[in-house]
Each structure stands twice: as C-alpha cells, then as structure tokens.
Symmetry: D2
Subunit: 489 residues, 4 copies
C-alpha cells in the first residue's frame, strides 16, 4: 500500500501524536459521520483505525490496519455499523493480525451491558494497576493501557455505571481524553489537567465530540466548546446532556505542542486559531532571532505558517525553496551509482533556480534527532544557498513525553545531548535559533509563563511533568530502560 504521509513522516524525525478520537450521538448515519471525522483527524494516527456503533440494541465494531479511507469508505463497511451512536479512533500501532487486538475502540460486555472506549493519551500507572487486576483474576485481551480502565469499571463495586467509571478514573494517573459508549449513551471526559484536547459540537440534534475542531468542520458540525479539563459530559440516548466534575476544580495544563505541531492549522484550540498561533511564533522568532538574509523558506508543510509569520514580521520575502513530493510512500532501494542523500530528495527537492546564490532563513517547527535538519541544510547548500540560517518555531525538545506522544528516549534527543551552538555545528547551519519558552507563551496569548503553575504542559521543553509517573519510577528503580510500557494510547 502506498501511504502518503505529509504531516508526520513515518521514518521521520518528528514527534508524533498517537491518537485521534471522534464520537457522535443522535445522527442517522453515525458511522458514516465518524468515518469522515476520523479522516479529518488522520494526521493524529495513521496506522490503524476502528469504529464502534450502537443501534439501540447491539454494538457493532470494525477495525483495520491503515488509513480511514482504506477501511471505511465503502458502503458495505458503513452498512456493517448501523445505529445513531458511533465512536472511532485513529492510532499508530504495530501492523499484522494480532495488532488488531489493540486497535480501538476497545469493547467489553460488562454485567451492565456493552462498554466501548476510545482513548487519546497515556496512563502513567497502567502497569502498576494491571499487575493488581491480574492477581485478582482479570484476563487482559490487549497490551493497551486503555484496557486497565475497562477492568477497573468491571470490578468496581459501585451501583451505577457512572459511579463505577468515576471510581475507575480516580485510580488512573496520566493523560486521557476519552469517548465511551454504553447502552445508555455517550460519555466524554478529559483528565483533570486536560493534557490532550477534546472539543464538543453539534449538528442539528446530534452531539459530536472530537480531538480537534477540524473534524467538526468536515462533518458540518458547529463548535460548542471544549470539554473542560477534569470535566465528564454524559449524553443520554435521547440527547440529554449533563456535565460532571468528579475531580473538583483544578487549573488545566493542556499540551502546548498541539499548537506547535500536532494539530491541523485550520483547527481552533483553546479558543485560538492554530494557524495564527504558528504565525505568531514565527513573528516572535523574527524579533528574538533576526537574520541578515534574502529569503524566508519553510520546511514544508509544517513550517509554512511560522515562516509566513517570520517573513511578514521581518519584511523578507517568503518563498517555496523546498518542494515536497506528495507521493512519499515507503523507502526505495537505493541505486549504488546514486549521489548522496537520494532518500531525502525523494521527499523534498530544492528549488535550485530560486535558492542559488541566496542567503536563506529556513523555518522548521522542531528538532528531534537532528538528522533531517542536517540533510535539509545540506540540500540547500548543494542547491547553491550562500548562507543557511535555521530558525525553529519551538524551544529545544529536551525531554520525552509520557502523555501519549511518541518521543525517542531522551538520549536520542539532540537538545538533550548538546547546547544550541553545538547543535548549529551538528546540522551545519550558519546560525541556529529556537523561539524562547516565553516567546512561545506570548504566541499562545499569555502575558508570560506562570512559573509556579504553568498554564500549559511544556514538559518536553522544561522537564516539569505535571503528574506522577508511577510506571516510569518503578522501572528506573529496577534499572530498566526509561520507556513507557503501557505504550498504546
């Protein structure tokens, strides 16, 4: 199969959001709507997709490896998912038959009836909880951290399902935006810090939940509001909506990297246009780190809005100096006679006629391992650029994420291994600058970062993790690799 992956590169040198979720209740073609909505969230997870629907009597599930379009665009696929309530999930996953066990929504027949759950995030004490559940006789069918929640619900002694669900969540630590389905209706909630996003919309009488507003746009729904950090919203089958705050009031700390890179530029997040925030980051960069150059060139496609902001602020012309192929697919066999770096050229090609003899500012969203940046700088030099000034629209990524983002272990993060000057040398740029963390907070609309209680989770930059990391701590006690194990979100 030919998977074209323009935002996040499979072999690539990017952090990757691990999931997108979508739910709808009260629409005649709930599953068709879920398919469209998940398609709009495809950039959040490209390796597997699942949809579960409920027709008032039965739950129906369909899962597949690959893109939404490859699995859910046929009439037959949709016809297998009848009913007016549906929820779905896109994720990164291992491929293959057994991998399907981990594709969400997960589903279980509880004593109270069917229970389906779609999860974006990562539970940081999943291993700890699982060990205890297995001791008591629980049998796990997946290796997903999400399944812990189902078993906690199944074994809770509270009388109502909602109470059992809250009872379960109280034991769970980490990041979770959840969309659940029961025979009574839909439950959507965000963890107390609201680390991963979740929005609520409506389309006629139907209620819609999604990771990003772009999924509402695509199905024609109207944005109502974000699900609040720590909020649990219950929608009954006849459309009655109730909001609960089982964890009390607490300031949220949503992931700031959603603004930098994960979300689509046409989404609205925290009340702000992602596109405008990225332009604002570019403008901050232009002020903080100006460059004496002829052209501003984005690393496509994610660097485009910041590059526009940088260009408009600096007055330098914005130009497409790198052309991205839209047919990326897998790696090709390299001919032995070829010149160096053919593989990066397969994806990006220099617009030589434009770049030749010019001093350029290159704008990218982040640096992870640094290998791609090095190749792109070389490509610009090979195309005749006289100077290459790299500007990055985020602070240095020094720490791994344990909240549902696929990060390399810390020792592979370039910014964890060297300072900015050494990084500039490593990628062979004439100069290198990152936006400051304060500049980033200004771009998202804050006067400044609240040091005592930051408004966002910025742990990947600051190392300040807002929750306990029980499984991590245990593993470090045992001298094991510092990798999250309940790794599926």
């Amino acid at each position: 199969m030919n998977i074209t992956d323009p935002f996040h590169d499979r072999d690539g040198d990017k952090l990757r959001e691990e999931c997108g979720i979508f739910g709808v209740l009260g629409a005649r073609d709930a599953a068709a709507m879920a398919a469209l909505g998940l398609h709009a969230l495809q950039h959040r997870g490209q390796e597997a997709v699942g949809i579960t629907s409920f027709d008032g009597r039965e739950f129906y599930s369909r899962r597949g490896i690959g893109h939404v379009a490859a699995n859910f665009s046929s009439g037959q696929a949709i016809a297998e998912l009848p009913g007016m309530m549906a929820a779905g999930h896109v994720r990164y996953s291992t491929t293959g038959g057994s991998g399907l066990r981990n594709v969400q929504p997960l589903f279980a027949d509880l004593a109270s009836g069917g229970f389906a759950i779609a999860h974006n995030g990562n539970i940081s004490n999943a291993m700890f909880l699982k060990r205890d559940l297995v001791q008591k006789g629980a049998i796990f069918q997946s290796t997903s951290d999400t399944e812990v929640i189902i078993h906690l619900v199944a074994t809770s002694r509270y009388p109502t399902l909602l109470d059992r669900f809250v009872d379960a969540l109280r034991l769970v630590e980490g990041a979770y935006s959840l969309i659940c389905m029961t025979p009574e209706g839909m439950i959507a909630c965000r963890d107390p810090l609201g680390i991963r996003p979740l929005v609520m919309g409506k389309l006629g009488d139907a209620v819609v939940f999604a990771s990003e507003t772009v999924a509402l746009d695509v199905v024609g729904a109207e944005l109502l509001r974000e699900v609040e950090p720590g909020e649990l919203i219950q929608v009954s089958l006849d459309g009655e909506i109730s909001s609960h705050r089982p964890f009390g009031d607490q300031a949220g700390r949503p992931c700031i990297f959603e603004h930098v890179y994960f979300s689509r530029p046409d989404s609205i997040m925290g009340g702000r246009s992602v596109y405008q925030v990225r332009k604002a980051i570019g403008a901050e960069l232009a002020v903080e780190a100006p460059a004496d150059a002829d052209l501003v060139i984005p690393v496509p496609d994610s660097g485009v809005p910041a590059a526009l902001g940088y260009a408009q602020q600096s007055g330098l012309p914005f130009e497409l100096g790198i052309i991205r192929s839209h047919y990326v697919g897998r790696t090709f066999i390299q001919p032995s006679d070829g010149a160096r770096n053919l593989d990066v050229k397969r994806k990006h090609n220099a617009n030589r006629a434009l770049v030749e003899g010019k001093r350029i500012v290159l704008i990218d969203d982040s640096i992870v391992r640094g290998t791609t940046s090095l190749k792109i700088v070389q490509m610009m030099r090979d195309a005749g650029a006289s100077e290459v000034h790299m500007r990055i629209a985020s602070p240095p990524t020094e720490h791994s994420c344990f909240y549902g983002v696929d990060t390399p272990e810390r020792s592979k993060l370039l910014a964890a291994r060297m300072d900015v000057e050494a990084m500039a040398k490593f990628i062979q740029a004439d100069s290198l600058a990152f936006v400051s963390i304060e500049g980033l907070y200004r771009a998202v609309g804050e006067a400044q970062r609240n040091k005592a209680c930051p408004q966002y989770c910025d742990a990947c930059f600051s190392g300040e993790y807002p929750t306990r990391l029980t499984d991590m701590a245990e593993r470090e006690d045992q001298g094991q690799l510092a990798l999250p194990v309940g790794k599926v979100a």
Copy 2:
C-alpha cells in the same frame, strides 16, 4: 488502496497530463534508478507504472496498477529487473487485469530482437494506421496508440533498425516523446514540434532521459540539455551518443500548459524555472487584473506560486486561507444529516479564523468544468469572506487537447460555453479574471506571441492545433463524438 493525489484530483476538475517517461543506460542499478526517477514523475501519471530492463542478453518487464512506490519499492521487484539499461513509464489507465496490457513500456520480440517503447504524447492518426496494419495481418495486443509504432517498425522493409524506426515515425502524426530500448542500446526522440517535454542528463558515465528535470535531481543526475524538437538521440550500449535529425529543421512548439500546471514547480523547462514562470504569471495577473482586497489566498497546492507572485506584485499579504488535507483517498459515504459540500471539505477546509470578514483574492491555475471553483467560492463565503475575487493563472481553456492530455470533450469546458462575465456568475465570484494569452507569453519570457508561428502549442486556449488530426477529422465526418480514440499515451 489508498491513493492520495494532491496535484491532480482523480474525480477532479483539472486537466491531467497522461504520462511520464524515464530511461537510463550505463548504471549498475538501472531499474532502481528508474523507479526513483518515475517516483519523481508520479504527478504525470498515477494509475499504472512499468519498468523494462536489459542485461545484455534478455529483457525483463514488470508492470503494476497504482503508484511507483506500491509496485517498485521492494528489493524483490528491483531484483527481477537486472541490467545496466532500463526504461519506465507512469500513466493513467483503466484498472484491472486486462488493463495491464496497456501499461508501458510496451515490448515486442521483433526479428531484430527485443524492442521496448515508452511514450508520452498522443498519435493523432493511430486509428487510421492501425486499420491498415490489421488488414495486412498484424495482431494488436493492446488498445494503445503506441503499439502502432511497433508494428510499423516490425513491418518496415529498411535494413537497419534505426532506419525502420525513422520509417515508422514518418508515418505517424501528433505528439510523441519516446524512449526505446533495443539490444543495441537506447533511442530517445521528440516529435518534430517537441510538443511533450524530454530532457537528457548524465550521472557519472550513465546517460539519463526523463520527462522533467526533477527526475534527474532525484536520482542525483546533472541536466545536460533538452532533447530538441525533431531530434533523435541514439546511445549505444557502450555509451556512445549520436544525434539525428530525420525530419529536418523546424521550429518547435512545446506545450505551454506544462508551465501553467503539469510540471513540478522545481523543474526547469525550456531553460526556465517552472516556479519562477508561475510567479511571473501571478505578477502579470496582478497588473492586468488588480483587486481591492485584504488577502491573497491560493487554491492549494497548484495555485501557490502564482499567488505568491500576485501577492508580491500587489503588495497584498499572502495567506493560507484554505488548508488541504493530505489524505484524500476515495470518496466517502455521505451521511444524510451532513451539511452541504462535505466532499469538498474532505479535501479542502477553510481557515475560518483568517478569512472571516475579509475581502479575498483567490488564485487558481485554471478552470475546466468550473464545478470545483464554485464549491471553493462557496466555502470561502461560508467561512465569512466578505468578497471573493477569483484570478486564474491561465487564459480560458476553450479547446480539447489531442496531444496526450486528458481533457473533457469541448462541450463540458466552461470557457467553451460562456464568456468571462457569465463564468463569474456561474462560480458566484464577485469578480473573475484570467491572465491574457499575451501575459502568459510574457511570463514564459517571450516579448510577445508570434501570431503567424506561435512559439508554443497553446491550442487549448487558441484552438490553433499545430498538426493534422486525422482520426478526429474522420470521426467528425462520420458524425461521431469528437473523442480521441487511440486514447492511451
């Protein structure tokens, strides 16, 4: 299969180039290089691909439906194609088993040995010639116009293969850029008018031919020059190159639409950067058709360079007001509850936060049927644009192409049915303007269009076809539909 098609949209409202070709002689991994080169030409044909190689004794062929990456990225696929000479082809085609017969390179065992041919263009007297050949006992194995050339070669009485090949081409009318392989080496040629492009490069001792320079870039080869209109270049197995001009000297008339839309912006065509020409068209448009507006917005992705040119010339800010999904795939089932135009939203989504309350200039490369333009104007209005001024980076497309471009029949071309004012009304824009044909010629670097003998083939705009159209004329005599029949190129 999940075919993502960002430049040209399958269901879409675009003219489509029908083929790309690539050949290499003298490289140790010729087939691997052909695969990479064809991958870079994927935008010229996305439905089928074939590569034929020669190892000094035998010819090897492999063909497939779908993208290059889906068919030729495995080591096994390349290992089936040994040898230091290879040629390949990407094309649009009907899918399915029997469709494979039409996938090029076509191959035949002639009395002189194997003969492989890859063709970009369209032979406008193919039906006429085929009828005569079948009368004499020839059996055709494909429905491709290209096969006519092979049979003409097979039945020619001249003593050498080169003479038989020229003998065949003398009988052929229309557009053809060809790469052929024989046991003696490679032959590349362009029709006397050079309607379709073909360039020549080198990589060490290897000689490379390709439809566009971007394919040279991707394999690491250096551009030597274009194959000239009417030129036939022969490369022997030991690398000796000889140039022939069997048709005498004649001014060429390359396709001007390659500059407007077909070619990749990072290609060099006729000595000019395609990107710079498109920016120049945008600048001409800004002079010829200014607009009182707040923002310049491209219809992504093909409208981007012209929009940059328009913005820089006019001083209006360039902004991404439409975000294109990179996961297009097939059409989804439409939920009955959805709002209108969900399908166009699946591909393009308005950047509402940016557009709301603004007067915008929308830049697109061309209008074919007009249906997409209508939807995009509506999308901008739904997102709150107060005025929408559409500017098109080519003159009105009034005539079908019979030289290897997939055009709807004339009666479906919006510009053949109405004048510009009516078109503006049809697409519901506040204003609509096309660049003039003179502006287009200025943008490609000519002082003016030579009316007596135009420097380019611009038949789709002017109706002035530079060759006879024998099959078309016959069909019109018989009162049949004016469709090209030898339809494969």
Copy 3:
C-alpha cells in the same frame, strides 16, 4: 479460495464434527509437528486453525481462517512458533476478522503465567457459568464456551494451577477433551464420560496427544493408549508424566458416531479399526436388510467401507456407480437452460454405463435432512437404474447433539419427522433400511447394548443424553429455540 471438502460437505446434508486437537511436548520442531498433525485432523474442522507454542519463556500464537495447509505450510509461519511444546486446533467457525477471536487455542496471561487451551466438545452449562462470571467483573474476549474454563481457573482460590484447573472442571458439565499448556508443561484430559476422543502417543522422547490416531501416524508417532474418560494427564517440561483421576471412577460413554462417520477410516478408536467397524456395520446391514439387486454402490466417499462390508456379506458385486468430483468448491451460477439438479452433478456424477438397467443397493452412512439422499436416488434413476434400494449404516438420527457436533435443530431431522416407510417415500427409494441400534453395537464389538447403562453415547439415535443440559433446560423454560448457545467447541 477454493475449499474442497470431500468428507463433510459445507452446504451439505451431514452432521459435522466440530473440532480436532493436537499437542506435542519435547520435540525440537513442535509447531511443524502440530501443523502436520492438524492437517491429518482437517476432516474434523475445516474453517479455522490455530497453533500456540512455548519456548520455555514466551508463548507464541498464530491463527487463521481456512485450512491448515493454507495457514501453516510456510517456513515463516512455523518460524513464528518456536519452542519444544505446541498445541493446535482445527474448527468450524464464522469467517472474517472478528471471527479470529474464537479460533483456538485460546490464550490468557494469568497471574500464574500464560495459559493456552484447545477444546473439542461442548460445555452444556457455559451460559449459566458465564453469566455468573461477568457479574463478578470478568470480561470475555470470545463467544466460545471454552473461555468459561479460563475464567474459572483465573478466579479460583486454590494455590496451585492444577488444583485451580480441577476446581474449574468440577463446575463444568458436558463434553470436553482438552489440551492445555502452562509454563510448567502440558495437561490433557477428557470429561468423566469421555464423550469426545483423545489419544496419547510418543515419538522418541516427545509426548503427543491427538483426537485421532491418524494424526500420530502422520507425524510418525506411536500410539501408547487412549486418555481415559475422566483422566487428567500432566506432562512436565522435562517429560515427566503423571496421571490423575479427579472425578473418581466412572464408566465412560464415548460417542458412537465417531465410528459411523466422524473419524478417518484409518484411525483406531477404542482399540478397534474404524474401517473394520464400518465394514462390520455394512455386513450387519446385509443380514438385517438384504436386497434383491445386481450391484452394491457406495455414496462416496464416506459410504465406501460399509458398502464393501455389505457386498462381501451379500455376495453382490461392489462397483463405483457414483463418481465424486474432487474439485467441489463453492456453488456455481446455474445456467437457466440447464437440466435439473446441476448442482448435485457438480459434486457427484452417475457412472451411467455401469448403472443402466441395473437394480442397485445404495449405501450411505446416515440421513440428516434427506435432501441429498433424494437427489442421489434421482440421479441413479436418471442414469437408468431400474431399482434403487437405500441402506443406511447407522440407526435413524432423531435427536440433536449437544456435545460438540453440529446438528440441525430437531425439527429438521428427517427421522424426527417421519417413520422409515415415509422416509423411503420422501427420498423416492424402492426400499430403505437403517442398521438397528443393536446391530451397530455388535459392529463395534459389544454383545449387546446395555440398556441400563449404555456403553456409548448414542443420544442422537436414542435421545438418552448422558449429562445434564443446563443451558438447554433454561432456554426451554423461557420458550426459546432449543439451540445450544455456547456453540463453539
């Protein structure tokens, strides 16, 4: 896929054994041996197959829809299943992705470590037990009755796994031959009545368990003995064997239909050759129901041994009057011009030259719905047979089986609806006779059927079910269809 199914016909009019199981401990290529062994048991279940192996540290599983050869003949498939212990299962199942959940061996990670189970039989109180387990928080991943056993083991409070396993079996009623794997070794057992078969063999130092002796033959193993009814045999990883009798001593009642039809004729069952038993049934028939005829003709292939016995006893010549196609595959589109009964001819064709003008005795193993018998009698008449005398090598099948055999509901069994005379009329035979139940007992070597305590389970003929049928009784109380629900075995 082209599934040829000569013993049991998919669309057919036969009872179907629902499972075959195989296990081996102590062989270097345990999984390869399991694949071969299951292949020899393919007639016991043709729709799905699974193998689980253990390499001393980890369990490995592979499951597939279709035949053993289609799923486990590649070196790669076997290489995915390392270790010296393996167990596998063939079964009938629903096809499709989700169906894979029900393919055995089932596997669970218990607190005591991995636990794999392969089951032939049917648990007749599975629904009752499952309801209770779910109330306590158990989450079922399949719809298989077998999973009940795993949850009972997981939640048992006994200290050792063996005790927990026996504790679980004490709660279970019905038919089960089981092969289980734990990190300590293999456990094989049969229910107290030994309804379904299970034999034990050895090959060098390896211990082998299988449903039938033919699977021992095919892997080159030697038959040691049958696992006794109510016996539980434990084999440790280092090969130590211990036998347990947790249910006390009790006379067994193995399924008599295994001799009539399910087992392969080259298997030894209960110490007797299945082929010889079937010949003996034919001989009994010849004595009980002679016919004045010219030829004895078997309905291929299952009727062949009984027909040989009938022919030898009666002195009539044995001939192949019906030729069976070995390429059955799915149903074809019927041409409208065709004569009647083309579909049965696709599978069976009359040997007209032989049959014409003859009085024939047709021998079949059983009559279920009677539709196939009717067609075959007609085919013989169309081929010119002057008289058709049908003789059946089993008593009338009047009752459904709830012990792991797929039977139609009782109302569809021809023998439940009418007497022998009416059946003869229905199938349009000149005469019809069934072997008596006493004759059947003589053929398997008993002096006579012990009415108080029959030596075999013959419930399908006699209606005397040897266990409680809890789920059935509940359903009948509720007025529901009398179908077994924990239907997977």
Copy 4:
C-alpha cells in the same frame, strides 16, 4: 490458496494432461455453462482457466490463475461474459501476472473481426513456423504454440475466414483439438489423427463441444458423437451445423493413455466407458500376472477401477489398504524429529489394521519416475504387509509425449532406464508386472494391435510417434535438450 489435487499430483509422479476445452453456442447463459463444463474438466488442467464469450457484437474475456471455482463461480464473473456463445479452457501454466498472457482462449482482432481459440494438444513445428512469421513482421504476445495458428490465419491470403483457417492448419503438425469463435459462429476441429479427444453434444437448441463427455453430463447436455479425427465442424450463430474434412480421409490414432489415466472414469471415450475399460485392464492384468496374495489394494484414487477388475477376475477381496487425505495442499515444513517419509503420509496413510500380516497386490495406473511407487511399497511394509506385489495397469512408460502431455524428459522415466526386474528391485516390491500392450488393446476392445497401423497413439509405450516432430528434430540437430519449446497447449 489451498489446491487439492486428487487425480494428478502437483509435486507428483504422474503424467499430466495439459488442457481441457469446452464450447457452447445457442444457450442463454453460455458463460455459466462453460464454467460448469470446465469445472467438470478441472482434472485436465488445474493451474489456470479462461472463458471468452460473444454477445453478437463484442467478445468478452476473463482469465485467472487457479481453479475454475475460484475464478468463475461468482455472479459478477459470469455477468462480465454476456452472450449466447462461449468457449473456455483449463490448463497447467506458470503462475503470476505475466503468465496470464498464456491463459487461453487466446484472442485477436483480425481484419475479419474477433477470433478466439482454445487448444488442447501440442503443435510439433510451432518454433519453426514462429521464426518465419516473426521475420515477416508478426509480433507474438504469448509464448504459446497456439498463437502460431492465429498469425497464420491473420496473414493467409484466402478470401474467407474458413479458408484462411484451413490454410493455417495445413501448415501445422502435431496434436490439436480446437474450439474457435468468430463473429459468424463456432468452429471445432481435431487434427487428422484425432490424437486428443473432442466430443459434441446438444442441450435443447444449443450445441456443445467438450474434451470429455463428463462435461456434457454436468451441464445436462446429451452426447451426439465424437468430432472425428480430421473433421472440422462449423456452427453458425443461428445453429446451422456443417461438417468439413479438409484433410481427406485417414485412420485416426487417438491417445490410448486417455483410457488409462487422463479421462474421468465416468466419461465415455471412443464409445466405451472409461471405467469399464479400466476394469478390463485390471482383469487382463489378473490373467497375465496373477499373484498368490490375500488382498487387492488400489493406490487411490486412479488405481481403483483396475483394482476392482483385478479383484473380480482373481477372486481376491478388494480392500482400501491406503487411505488418501483429501486435503493435500502444499508441502509442509518437515519436523526434524519426524520419522521418514512424512510427506507421503500426508497424502496417503496405510490402513494398518487391515494390512498387517497380509500378502497384498497393489494396483496403480502407471510408473513414471518410480519414486512414489517406492514410498508406497515402503509404507505397506511399515504397516506390516508380509508381501507386496505391484501390478501396473499400463505398459512401461518408456518415451516422452510431444502431443500435449507433460512428461519428464526420457532420461527420467524409470522404464527408459531399466527393465522390469530392475524396476521391481528399485521399488522394493516382491514382484512387479505391467499389463502387456496387447492386453491393453484387448481391454479397449480391439482384437489385437495393428502393428502396421496401430489403432491408437501409444508412442509413450512404443516410441512410434505418428507425426513428424520438426522442432524436436531441429533441436536434436543442434545438440540441445530434447524438450518441446512451444510448450503451451
């Protein structure tokens, strides 16, 4: 895919018929009928299948790798083949995409209109003719010998298609039974010696041609007669039948091995029941080569009729001492711990309880390489047989076939390498005997073999080839391997 191959074993030690053909004109569902008919001829060719139909205006073709049921049982497949005339072909072939080029019916658009041809046999001067045609400019699309006929038709100067067709056949030497379709109707013919079979039947107003009568039975048609050797039958679209004898009168020499092995036992060939002929061969064997033994055992399934004949003649009991698995499929990975000959046990298993301590006569149809015979004799001894007497229902196969049967080269035929005594030693039988060639002629109903002019082609036994073998002779002149090259039939 799971290909079960009971008559001819893919890896096996059997001669293989290479093709079966079927045609029907005048039936409303011609393609559905062709699919059923080819299914009944599946034993004549199991690797590829094609059907071409004609609806009065257009020809439609569909080809596939694998069984008829796998390719032509769906309603969609049949719906793609409209019209009242259809012809089809089953064959052995190389698998894979390019292999489809060789799947018949071959089709060409000639000046006279479409021409489809299905061929059973082999043209023994195909290479010679092809070389000449290519010199004149013909382009071959397959490597099939059959395509030579089409080019000869296409380039013939005779005015009518029938004349051109006869003109073509006059140049052709070897074996051919052909079914052709033109816009005027169907042509069926057999080579002057009628080496391969072809029969004619009717079903209502429809005319049917097929390789064997069993295909008529399955579609419900009635046998009219055989197409005579050297006869050409033309059926017009409106059903008018005319018979032509373009080659004059000549005695035919049909293949005698069709009676021994290739044809289905329920076919009538040359007016005789194949089943009865095989029984008669067995009876001849019993007279010519009696054995002092306890049981007669067939090698299933092809040895069964001869074994019945042997048993009835000798008075020894006929018993199934070898049980054949019906799930053969591909070869499995052999476990290293396994006993010898597991692979043959996978297909055949000894019925040990029957064989133990007995002196047996084993009946097989032929010995090719002898490897299978050796394994089966060993299996019988391992099962306890005290003596094994092998009897073969054909004379020793000493010569290769060049008329459409897949034979190993001569040097691999056991009978070409040693005399009967040495063969007995090689296969380790206590005695070995073949039926005499005179005995074989008696069994097919002749008083004796006419030495001057044998009534059958028996070249595989006698070495007397009834036609010139031009390609073979050329190759031997050049010292090349004695293999037929125009190898597809």
